[in-house]
């Protein structure tokens, strides 16, 4: 039944097939230079295929795959950051190989896993079947578990183990929620695949049993929320970010969290279409705000640079989940924009941090000082990135946060207080740390950086442009999705 959308040549097939072929190829090929290039080329091709989704005719929603306005944004963002990260990864990995932290065998595994992960994430975005989506999210998560543990140090193993344990709890809850959704759909739609097809579910959800939907959503929110890194379930996130290779930190923050968020959004749309089910908004807003305020305070006590930005990711995912929880055209718009801006900015920051940590040979914040003096390109890149993520104008993050705050003031003035409070606390922490890292008396190694600046600055440029001028077609597109999300 899946045949028409899966096998006829179309952009969707390309987005899925290129990473798979590349992964198989990379698993077989020796030599890091060629494999790094293939990794970049495959990521670029996938990105091109994703862009072609805009122009090619969309396949009708099948039993397995779906392309709609919502997921195109996610796929394009995903493949773009996947591509730039592969560029960064090529220069980062060369250094890791020199210093002997990774062996050529590790590297072959790493590149193959990178493509498998891209496949998993793309599959999660295009899947129209909630079971398939679950499998895809898990695939993407497990490949990252393996990559987090790739250095085999004490800390890396601890991080990977923790990620695996918490991730599997998430796996279990999300699957249980998926089964409950199926059970809710089964009396209305009938047995078999149709009762797991998202487009059919949305059409008929109004007739589902609301109590069962409620319980299902709670499991799904907890399950996928673990992967989004929402506050009570976030414990894996800082370790996984800090101990894995930095390209993986960039992909984790920039992309994998979005994948889980996308899953939550799909189910939120589902629940919102049933008038008698609980409204998912308050739950999401509570978890979002908790994450935001908690992570904002945690930022102050960080001594590890990657760990600090991991907490900043929790903070921003909190903001995004809050925005989607608040709902309504404006808040949804702000949430979408913020998600895109956060992905771009945070991965740019991790690109800078990766090179900095390599030069200094440490991730300790206290050992990194005066970067703008010793390594101006990296240092200023980091300054711009942190200024952007902290929400300073004229960057894109400022705009999305501004939209969200004004929308919150208009609709839920009381909730705006913790929101603004959390934003300010995080702002203070980031600037405090930034001044130490970027300015002052240089400390540590001064050896010149063998870095690739293109990925970092291209992301930052995009964020800057988005802060100053958003092209009207993009605004129209986002507004359309914002209405779709309710």
């Amino acid at each position: 039944m899946s045949a028409p959308s899966l096998f006829a040549f179309d952009a969707v097939a390309a987005v899925l097939a290129i990473p798979v072929v590349a992964a198989a190829l990379l698993a077989l090929m020796p030599g890091y230079k060629a494999t790094a290039r293939i990794n970049v080329a495959a990521s670029l091709l996938t990105f091109a295929a994703a862009l072609s989704l805009f122009v090619t005719e969309r396949p009708a929603p099948g039993q397995y795959l779906l392309v709609d306005d919502l997921n195109i944004v996610f796929i394009v963002l995903n493949t773009f950051v996947g591509f730039t990260t592969s560029l960064f990864s090529a220069s980062y990995i060369a250094h890791e190989l020199e210093t002997g932290r990774l062996t050529p065998a590790n590297l072959r595994f790493y590149h193959a896993m990178y493509q498998v992960m891209m496949f998993g994430m793309n599959l999660a975005f295009v899947s129209n079947n909630i079971g398939l989506m679950w499998v895809a999210v898990e695939l993407a998560t497990l490949t990252t578990v393996l990559m987090v543990g790739i250095y085999r140090t004490h800390e890396a193993l601890e991080a990977a183990w923790k990620y695996f344990i918490l991730g599997s709890v998430g796996i279990a809850f999300a699957l249980f929620g998926t089964i409950l959704i199926y059970l809710a759909a089964q009396p209305v739609i009938g047995e078999g695949y149709d009762a797991m097809v998202w487009t059919l579910l949305v059409e008929r959800v109004a007739a589902f049993d609301p109590a069962l939907l409620n319980v299902a959503f709670i499991f799904l929110l907890l399950g996928y929320g673990t992967k989004v890194g929402l506050a009570p379930l976030h414990a894996w996130l800082p370790d996984a970010h800090a101990e894995g290779p930095t390209p993986i930190s960039a992909v984790l923050s920039g992309l994998l969290l979005n994948v889980a968020l996308y899953a939550v959004l799909r189910f939120k749309i589902l629940l919102a279409a049933n008038p008698e089910a609980i409204s998912p908004g308050p739950l999401m807003m509570t978890m979002g705000l908790t994450s935001l305020v908690f992570a904002a305070f945690m930022l102050y006590r960080r001594r590890d640079i990657k760990r600090m930005f991991a907490y900043s990711s929790i903070e921003h995912m909190g903001i995004i989940v809050f925005a989607f929880g608040l709902g309504g055209p404006l808040a949804n718009f702000a949430g979408l924009l913020h998600m895109v801006m956060h992905s771009l900015t945070k991965s740019a920051i991790f690109f800078a941090v990766g090179h900095i940590a390599q030069i200094k040979g440490t991730q300790r914040l206290s050992a990194i000082r005066g970067l703008t003096e010793t390594h101006p390109a990296l240092g200023w890149g980091l300054v711009i990135g942190v200024a952007a993520i902290a929400g300073l104008p004229p960057m894109g993050v400022f705009m999305s946060e501004f939209l969200l705050v004004s929308s919150t003031f208009a609709r839920q003035p009381l909730l705006a207080v913790p929101l603004v409070f959390g934003l300010l606390v995080a702002f203070g922490a980031l600037l405090l740390r930034l001044t130490g890292v970027a300015f002052g008396q240089p400390r540590g190694s001064r050896q010149p950086a063998d870095a690739s600046y293109l990925p970092m600055y291209s992301h930052l440029l995009l964020v800057l442009i988005a802060g100053i001028y958003l092209p009207p077609p993009l605004v129209a597109w986002f507004q359309h999705i914002a209405n779709l999300l309710r």
Partner: protein, 222 residues
């Protein structure tokens, strides 16, 4: 095919799974824990096979066969072998005392029964009770994972949790992808757990006690 006997047998098997999950909570030796886990998986196999029979769903026999071969035989034997090789067949250290764990377990079973029975008043009684038991098994598996420090017993906890999910999926009538999901889980367990983690942990620490990992963190205090 529905009748009191069919229902009773399904009920007994699923209830047996919950009971064996409770038994796992108080095992304080790794070998014993593995044996109980094998029993757990055997009950799951029977339960899924019975569901396959009463639902007339032949694909569930595949799931049952996977559970039988993989979780009743291969995994316990492999873990036995590994424990012997690593020389860790000592007592398992638990985080919380057995008594408190059992009480928590009883609470979780009660919770899942209250939740599931309340939200599914119109569903088929077989599905309802199956779901309530499945959720209990899932939560008990979770409890095993959080109350054990030893990596092997955490893995066993995860596998018993997964048994609960397979039970739920098999009980949901006509649910597609059940076979695929159980295959995916088996691969996951085989690869991640046995292949990568235990050997790597062994390589680095000479122990599979997860506390050794925590100590590292404690020293570094970030």
């Amino acid at each position: 095919m529905q009748g009191p006997v069919y229902f009773d047998i399904a009920h007994m098997l699923a209830g047996g799974l919950v009971l064996v999950s409770m038994m796992m909570l108080y095992q304080d030796r790794l070998y014993a824990l593995l044996n109980v886990f094998a029993l757990h998986s055997l009950l799951l196999t029977l339960s899924v096979a019975w569901q396959a029979f009463i639902q007339g769903a032949p694909h569930l026999y595949v799931t049952a066969a996977i559970a039988l071969i993989f979780k009743v035989v291969v995994i316990p034997v492999a873990l036995h072998h590994m424990i012997r090789k690593l020389g860790i067949h000592r007592e398992i250290e638990t985080v919380v005392g057995i008594g408190a764990t059992m009480l928590a377990g009883i609470g979780l079973v009660a919770l899942s029964i209250v939740v599931m029975l309340r939200v599914t008043p119109e569903a088929d009684p077989l599905t309802r009770e199956d779901l309530a038991f499945a959720l209990s098994v899932l939560l008990l598996g979770l409890l095993i994972m959080v109350t054990r420090r030893n990596a092997v017993s955490q893995v066993v906890g995860f596998m018993s949790l997964e048994n609960g999910l397979v039970l739920a999926a098999a009980g949901a009538k006509g649910m597609p992808l059940v076979v695929e999901i159980s295959v995916a889980f088996s691969i996951l367990i085989a690869f991640i757990v046995i292949g990568v983690f235990l050997f790597r942990i062994r390589e680095r620490f000479d122990t599979v006690d997860v506390r050794a990992l925590d100590d590292v963190r404690g020293r570094r205090r970030k």
